[in-house]
Subunit: 310 residues, 3 copies
């Protein structure tokens, strides 16, 4: 039987199809209990530790809300980089040894690739990667997958455009790996300086995934069932002028949606700045706020599954 009990969730591409299905179904089950006004107590008596070495309100709060809605409790280091053992020079391995005594499961967000793995190496409790620099962000990819299934009924055979900063966006790295399991066709839309890394496109093509790389957002949108836009993140640029030049390149507005494939679903990991105009919030296919909300049940599923409480 498929189980995630005791496992770390570090990369989107570590998950088998059965494991992904288990996560999706567990999330759907939790969602339906909550919609019916029911109370969940799966994590009663358990403690989650959230260790955030990089600010991320949305990811941290959605994990904490998920834990509380399962009847569990939370301890948190919201400013781990400055205020913690890290400042005294402790390794993440030792931090892992520490946290296993204080919690039953841990989520880490850290600016360095591989950091979640290092914490997991030290900790005997399950560790979930809440984003490690330009590396992976598997729980975001899972909630994105969950959202596409809910919005479209299925993921199989869809055409999905990933647009924006594809170079630095760990979200799209994890998501493309995950969607590749389901026969998805991709448009990758980015300025040349922010293109999807070639090791990722090469890896996908090796898995026989169809990819079109273009800088023409309108062309891609006309062919796509889903348009997934990411923020061009100021904090990833060293040159402010380059940031200013590129950030406005791919703004999604009413005209773009009118010219796009009818019923196109708009997604965004949030926070948005001005990548999607506010006027589109009223559009039926604007799924980005529902997407954020889905983060709670998907993270509930992950917390319950890795601790064997689902």
């Amino acid at each position: 039987m498929t189980t995630l009990k005791g496992k770390d969730i570090l990369r989107a591409d570590q998950l088998t199809l059965d494991e992904i299905e288990l996560i999706m179904q567990t999330a759907a089950r939790f969602e339906s209990v909550m919609r019916a006004g029911g109370r969940l107590t799966n994590m009663s008596g358990k403690v989650l530790a959230t260790l955030f070495y990089e600010p991320s309100t949305r990811t941290r709060l959605s994990f904490e809300s998920a834990m509380l809605r399962l009847g569990g409790q939370v301890i948190s280091v919201a400013e781990a980089r400055t205020s913690s053992s890290a400042a005294k020079g402790e390794t993440l391995f030792d931090t892992g040894k520490m946290i296993e005594s204080y919690a039953d499961v841990a989520v880490i967000r850290h600016p360095a690739i591989g950091s979640a793995q290092e914490l997991a190496d030290g900790a005997s409790i399950p560790v979930i990667n809440g984003g490690d620099g330009a590396g992976q962000h598997p729980t975001q990819a899972l909630l994105d997958l969950y959202t596409i299934r809910k919005e479209k009924g299925t993921v199989e055979g869809l055409t999905v455009t990933l647009a924006g900063d594809l170079k630095n966006g760990r979200t799209v790295h994890s998501l493309s790996a995950l969607l590749a399991n389901f026969g998805v066709r991709f448009y990758f839309v980015a300025p040349a300086a922010l293109a999807m890394p070639t090791e990722i496109t090469a890896g996908l093509r090796q898995r026989r995934v169809e990819i079109v790389e273009t800088s023409d957002l309108a062309e891609a949108a006309a062919q796509s069932d889903v348009l997934y836009v990411t923020r061009v993140q100021r904090e990833r640029f060293t040159d402010p002028a380059e940031y200013e030049r590129l950030k406005g390149s791919y703004v999604v507005d009413l005209a773009l949606v009118k010219a796009a494939k009818p019923g196109i679903t708009l997604m965004h990991p949030l926070p948005r700045v001005d990548e999607i105009v506010k006027e589109l919030d009223a559009y039926d296919g604007a799924a980005y706020f529902r997407q954020a909300a889905n983060g709670v049940q998907v993270r509930m599923a992950l917390l319950a599954l890795v601790t064997g409480q689902a």
Copy 2:
């Protein structure tokens, strides 16, 4: 029937007399249960989000304690300005859309006037204003009202002195609006540079509220049932020299209380620096620590009422 279910609490002057009475009675009911050693579970299964874009230990902790004492749970961003989506450029409207998925009710503290309204515009859950810059601080005003009723038995017909920084002190802005409902006479005591804004005094006089503006604290205290002192807040001054010159202007000491109306009640929103000398802590009428304690039951009442759990 009067209800606050589903409502935002953004301004003191939005509340009807019936709504104020409901809040006072609910707070008194919760207080009596707690005094009798009882346990409250009104907010069991519910989550409060506290979003503090400006530090305020007292307001945040009293809301969080209120939620926990009602059997609820809390997620928190204590340093929202630097560590959150805000740094990435997210609007408060979008933050409201986010937080409605993670919590059942939210409290926001923010340096900008109107910020609580903007969050409430985005969020479908009730939003409580925990202070928006020099704007409003309605929950402080409500706990102040609750305190005066407890200390004096009634508010009707009392003479109340508001002293200190009346220009920048949102507390006294919200409080004067609230007390105006109850036939209170005011002394406003402040140096000219920190006087109560004319739009507030004009608004009160239009409501036929009797106001005496003076810079003579002793004269006002001699006539007053309640002396409400506010801190001259360093962080509201751009010129440190002006701060140093003014901060000591209105110190409440033993001599002042001896010359004041017998039984005068001393209040202060806290933290105090040296506006009220420590020797007065032992004075029976020194209500400022009891006032802070009252914040818990008043905020319990607000949390339970707006979520329909009272």
Copy 3:
């Protein structure tokens, strides 16, 4: 009957032998319930406030985990120095008056000696000192004592080496006072600039405690049942060059352990930087991670005892 109900825990040397025994036995009782998979609800309905004016991930999280594992709840100021009433000039006495309304027990960590006492003077609820600058850290000393008992069976008659920064290390100040109750012999191993303060060695010798002061770690280890190493803390130095020169002086490695008394127990309050090499983690006598874990049950015992819930 011995009781700690309503008492503050401010210094290791305030505790009687009976009180120490009560803490040890309560911690052992909680530990055995948890090991058997049982749930504790001693602190159900109670709130702990953690006030950290100085970062200390390990101490804060272990207290918070302890409270949650007892069924209680937590409110927290993780960055109290910058983000709290403190920045507005509030005294710790007044902060104590505040916190007694919001919580049933408080833990404070503060860079100034005597700070925990000042908070306790203001607060009617029990206050636990989580470390006050170069002063005391009694709960660390108690968990160290608990660890030695668990590792060695008894403390009576052991030889214990305290090594590293003995001048600034509040941990070793509290611990030496506590162990002195049990007929322990000491080696104090430190460079001259970081030697144990003479008032502490004088106090111990007055109590007829046997002390050897040396800079030869190997010699001490050869005679010792327990080797307790502390970090040479960068943040205690004003001259970085002096820090660099001294920090490596007392590194514990495989060679040192091989030459030490067989079965020697290695302890460290953590975080470690490079005082104990990672290769020693696999050594049976490496107790430092178990020591950190013991912090939870010892702090559970303290929280439950001072609130009368044990």
